[in-house]
């Protein structure tokens, strides 16, 4: 299993039905492959509640997710316009939002929409999801491509919201955010506390169960 699928499968363990879940672009999109519960319903902000996998023989170019990838519609699905879709998001009707991030700071704030020094050209639905989803899970690689920790003391990139996320899942570990602090709660298979320490700039508390240490 590659890194991205490893993260997605671990995120799936954090989700239990009944729940309405919104998946962001990238690693979050893969999460649906690992959620087997029928009572977990996927929402996509471009206007579908009840996203399911697509049969490759029946691709419909006008039935897509937020990443513009073809999807299927589950029995009991509904279609709606963008204002209604964001009323669901902003209005607190989505149980879980799973998002990618460029950086997460040690208080749980995330940056996932802009890079300093480059023209700011896109934000999409990220700020609305941060403002309105009941629970937010970040799914990201622990380090950037140049090997730097994405869990930082303070975000250098512009933040997406002043609201903290709840859970961060990386290819090395799982962190919970409580009262503006990070807690290391789980290690990915074969990863040690020392490995996490070496690759993490942010300050966090270790809160593993005894058998994990």
């Amino acid at each position: 299993m590659n890194e991205q699928h490893l993260i997605a499968s671990r995120v799936a363990q954090e989700i239990s039905g009944p729940a309405v879940v919104n998946l962001g672009i990238g690693i979050p999109t893969l999460v649906s492959e690992y959620v087997k519960e029928d009572t977990v319903i996927f929402h996509t902000e471009n206007g579908l509640l009840g996203v399911t996998d697509i049969d490759p023989n029946h691709i419909d170019p006008n039935l897509v997710n937020a990443g513009k990838l073809p999807v299927g519609e589950k029995e009991g699905s509904s279609f709606f316009n963008s204002a209604d879709s964001f009323a669901m998001i902003r209005g607190g009707h989505i149980d879980v939002a799973i998002l990618g991030a460029l950086q997460v700071d040690q208080t749980g704030l995330i940056a996932n929409w802009a890079v300093p020094g480059k023209a700011i050209l896109g934000v999409g639905g990220a700020m609305d999801l941060l403002a309105g989803a009941k629970q937010i899970i970040v799914a990201m690689t622990h380090c950037s491509k140049d090997g730097k920790s994405k869990l930082v003391k303070e975000c250098l990139y512009p933040i997406t919201s002043t609201r903290a996320v709840h859970i961060i899942v990386t290819n090395l570990a799982v962190f919970h955010v409580k009262d503006h602090e990070l807690y290391l709660v789980d290690l990915m298979p074969g990863v040690t506390v020392e490995t996490v320490q070496q690759h993490t700039e942010a300050t966090y508390k270790v809160a593993l169960t005894q058998n994990q240490i």
Binding site: T44, E45, N46, G47, L48, I59, D60, P61, N62, L63, V64, K68, P70, E73, F79, F80, N81, S82, A83, S85, F86, A87, I89, R90, A114, A119, I120, L121, G122, V123, G124, G125, A126, M127, D128, A131, G132, P158, I159, T160, S161, T162
Partner: protein
């Protein structure tokens, strides 16, 4: 009753209403639900300094990307332009102004614009770069920012079926911004797969009632799984 006056034969015929400097609302999420036939007609029209309101500007050289490359757009309001590299290039050269809005704020601003609401307070983007310069207000212990509503002179929308009165239905996720934009412009043109007689649409399935729609054309450029095709 003669109810055929809204049915037009081509995109060219409806474009007379669009003037230099107008604000044009264009439906679609990328190319999905984008009015590709109307955009194609806009390619042939001499017009400049448009402000375009659309979630994206198509892709490079596709959809609204075509119009951008003809330098007809002065300003664009939307949520995600990253998928068309030409947008960044024009912006860096100072040839294009960009107003970036969170997608939900954009949708609500159009909904409000069509509903006679001047603006609204939202908690989205509070404390971020996109809230800079916007009025803040605390309501029930939560901080909100003020966002002004958006209205257009002309809207290009994509629907599935129209009846001869201009009632519209939509198809799957091609709906997106289209029904909201249909309420928010002075002159609304819908591009549809099929025009059917009055009475053949079930009143329960009509999403956009005809009073919002000024003109209807049949789509001649459509999105297929192999890309954009001419019919």
């Amino acid at each position: 009753m003669n109810c055929m006056h809204k049915i037009k034969s081509s995109g060219i015929e409806v474009l007379d209403t669009l003037k230099n400097g107008d604000t044009l609302l264009v439906g679609g999420f990328g190319l999905i639900g984008a009015p590709l036939t109307l955009i194609d007609a806009l390619k042939e029209k001499e017009v400049r300094d448009l402000t375009v309101v659309s979630n994206n500007l198509g892709e490079s050289g596709k959809g609204l990307g075509l119009i951008l490359n003809q330098n007809k757009i002065k300003k664009v309001i939307g949520s995600y332009f990253t998928s068309n590299r030409d947008v960044g290039e024009k912006y860096q050269k100072g040839e294009l102004a960009i107003q970036l809005l969170p997608q939900g704020t954009m949708a609500e601003a159009l909904r409000a614009g069509g509903a006679g609401i001047g603006g609204f307070y939202t908690k989205t983007a509070v404390g971020t770069k996109l809230a800079e310069g916007k009025e803040q207000r605390v309501l029930d212990d939560e901080t909100y920012i003020f966002e002004q509503s958006i209205k257009g002179d002309v809207a290009f929308i994509r629907a599935h079926k129209a009846d001869e009165l201009g009632n519209l239905t939509y198809y799957k996720t091609a709906r997106n911004f289209n029904p909201i934009m249909a309420t928010a412009a002075k002159y609304v043109v819908a591009e549809v797969d099929e025009i059917v007689p009055v009475g053949s649409l079930n009143a329960e399935e009509i999403v956009t009632p005809h009073l919002f729609v000024d003109a209807v054309i049949v789509a001649r450029k459509v999105l297929t799984k192999d890309g954009v095709k001419s019919l």
